[in-house]
């Protein structure tokens, strides 16, 4: 969606990343991005591009420049054998089931209760 009609105005626009929550309790997912001259219009455009068809119950609009990015391959994908850090070959399921049976507990629900359902901070209620 990031494009602008005039080269002259392009310099004044900044990308904002938009995260959307389809319904209360769902995780926030990256929806896409908008170009806007400031935070207020970024929220307006996010509303129109990701919320005008009732497809979102909450949007997070973040200036891309404010996002801390980590993409250093030395940190994320070093060229050494790290297979011993992966849990492959160690089957937990049966052990967990046996432990639950001993303790008499149920398998927890996929959505933890007590979570604030926004995936993070809950914005202040608006009228």
């Amino acid at each position: 969606m990031a494009s602008s009609r005039k080269a002259a105005s392009r310099a004044e626009l900044e990308p904002y990343e938009v995260f959307q929550q389809a319904k209360e309790g769902d995780p926030m997912r990256h929806g896409g991005n908008v170009l806007a001259p400031d935070r207020e219009l970024a929220v307006h455009y996010a509303r129109e591009l990701f919320g005008r068809r009732n497809e979102s119950s909450r949007l997070w609009v973040v200036r891309r420049a404010d996002i801390a990015v980590l993409e250093d391959p030395d940190l994320l994908d070093p060229p050494l054998d790290r297979s011993f850090k992966k849990p492959g070959g160690y089957v937990m399921r049966d052990k967990l089931a046996a432990a639950r049976a001993r303790a008499g507990t149920e398998k927890p629900a996929a959505r933890a209760t007590g979570h604030d359902r926004t995936g993070g901070r809950r914005p202040k209620a608006t009228s």
Binding site: R5, K6, L35, L41, Y45, L49, R52
Partner: protein, 266 residues
């Protein structure tokens, strides 16, 4: 489609004069939203930037949606066999009752923001004047106001940016406010049936009182930006008649499909 003959309608509880006055009010509200929506849809594809293109197009769709709901109420009140499409599309240009403010063509972006600024605030002042006298209208207005809140946020954001966005933007905005300010109060053109609407509680205040509330809202928005208020003009009975050539053109556009074949649907 609205069937009029067999259904019992809330409008049947109104006396003849009040029913006529309600129809007059609904024509003004529906035509305002309809013409405003079509004028703004002229930005689709050519708005200043792509995101704004989606925003203004979506807002104009909202206005057409409000118009449709109002025409449906009107069809019930008139009960003359016309449905919402017939009311929207099958009238001659001089039968439309939108305010002269909305006769102004799309123009440049500053023209659109100036017109929308005057209209959105006027519409809110009018919607705030609708009482519980006719329940279907009161219920619709409650929903419409929730959507219009965003329209005001959008136009006020743009008024602010054009006013403080450098010489060129400010010069154009001031010229547009000046050119359209004269016609802005026509949204509050007195209604012939205003006394009946007030007596039945369909309106809770007169158009003149609503206009005073609107002027207070204009002052709040314009004064901090150092922009001039529109002049006070004597309300004219013709504020919703004698439409412009620009409207004749718009009418020929929005009735084109409807006129192409009798009874055409899509």
């Amino acid at each position: 489609m609205t069937t009029v003959v067999a259904s019992t309608s809330a409008a049947d509880d109104l006396d003849r004069r009040t029913r006529g006055a309600l129809a007059e009010l609904l024509f003004t509200m529906a035509d305002d939203e309809f013409v405003s929506g079509f004028t703004d849809s002229e930005w689709t594809g050519i708005a200043p930037l792509l995101e704004e293109d989606v925003a203004i197009s979506s807002i104009s769709q909202d206005e057409l949606g409000h118009a449709r709901a109002l025409y449906q109420l009107l069809a019930d009140v008139l009960a003359d066999g016309r449905d919402e499409d017939a009311l929207a599309y099958d009238r001659e240009p001089d039968e439309y009752r939108h305010a002269r403010l909305l006769d102004h063509p799309r123009g440049d972006w500053a023209d659109t923001i100036a017109r929308r600024f005057f209209y959105e605030l006027a519409d809110e002042a009018r919607l705030a004047s609708i009482g519980a006298g006719y329940r279907p209208l009161a219920e619709l207005v409650e929903k419409v106001r929730r959507e219009e809140r965003y329209h005001r946020m959008h136009v006020l954001a743009w008024l602010d940016r054009l006013a403080r966005g450098g010489q060129e933007a400010r010069r154009r905005l001031e010229a547009s406010l000046l050119a359209q300010g004269v016609d802005a109060p026509t949204v509050f053109t007195p209604l012939e049936g205003e006394a009946e609407l007030l007596a039945s509680g369909i309106l809770t205040r007169s158009m003149a009182t609503a206009e005073a509330a609107w002027r207070a809202d204009l002052t709040t928005a314009l004064v901090p930006l150092g922009l001039a208020l529109p002049p006070s003009v004597e309300p004219s009975a013709n504020g919703r008649r004698d439409h412009s050539e620009a409207f004749d053109w718009l009418w020929s556009e929005f009735t084109m499909v409807r006129r192409s074949e009798d009874g055409v649907t899509w």
